[in-house]
Point group: C2
Chain length 150, copies 2
């Protein structure tokens, strides 16, 4: 279960903005102008499904997931947070932790759906610069947030 196949892009990432990591998990920042502050929580072990992780690893993972969600809400005030563990393309446990705003490209649908408006409409929003700044501050707090949860 802990093999690290060379073909897995989460075992051998070509480029990642790692915000925090330890032996079991890491958190990376996702550059997505529509969803500033988007992060992924990634298992260091190469397992496909959450239920492949040990009970203790699951407990830690969910504590990190909820702790990051909570901090994201406090620091970014998104309209909603989306949590998803899909892994169809990369069967290696990773969670998408996505701040959603009512004026983002896809709201109220998932970010994998057809856009509801044009990027220009979203980028022109007065609040966008503020969101980007708060997202940057949130990412800087990730190491402290994760250490406090570990």
């Amino acid at each position: 279960m802990t093999q690290t196949p060379a073909s897995c892009p989460l075992c051998t990432p070509s480029s990642e903005q790692v915000l925090w990591s330890d032996a079991q998990f890491r958190v990376v920042g996702v550059n997505d102008d529509q969803h500033p502050g988007f992060v992924r929580l990634i298992s260091q072990a190469h397992v496909a499904e959450v239920s492949d992780l040990s009970a203790s690893a699951q407990t830690r993972m969910f504590a990190l997931l909820v702790g990051i969600e909570s901090a994201m809400r406090q620091m970014l005030s998104p309209d909603k947070v989306n949590l998803a563990s899909l892994g169809n393309q990369v069967p290696h446990v990773h969670w998408h932790i996505i701040p959603r705003w009512k004026d983002d490209l896809f709201f109220p649908d998932p970010i994998w759906s057809t856009p509801k408006r044009s990027p220009a409409e979203t980028f022109a929003l007065a609040g966008h610069t503020d969101r980007m700044a708060r997202a940057e501050a949130f990412w800087k707090e990730i190491p402290g947030i994760c250490k406090a949860l570990s």
Copy 2:
């Protein structure tokens, strides 16, 4: 946090196939021919985000989530399981627990994306009838699975 607004379709559902429920959570079957066995785990309390739930409710919820995922894998043998808590349309905590197959309409993309093939291609598959039968058996086991986790 436990208010039950009349406008919330998860507080006052018009039709649901409830497979199991208790005071904190319920599991409903989702009729989706592309993803037989699809279920939703729903909080009985009207809260928008996972981090709004008490720590003890979170612990129970994640135990149910992983337990259902594990049973789904054993009974349906899907190619992948997708877990998602979105709630953009209905901000009341509910998890989509979705069995995915490489020949389903959307694989390897999320089920909210653009279809990759036609329903006819999927429905013609030799294994589809078997999947439907196993999904029906899985749903029948949900009460026992959830009781054992409670």
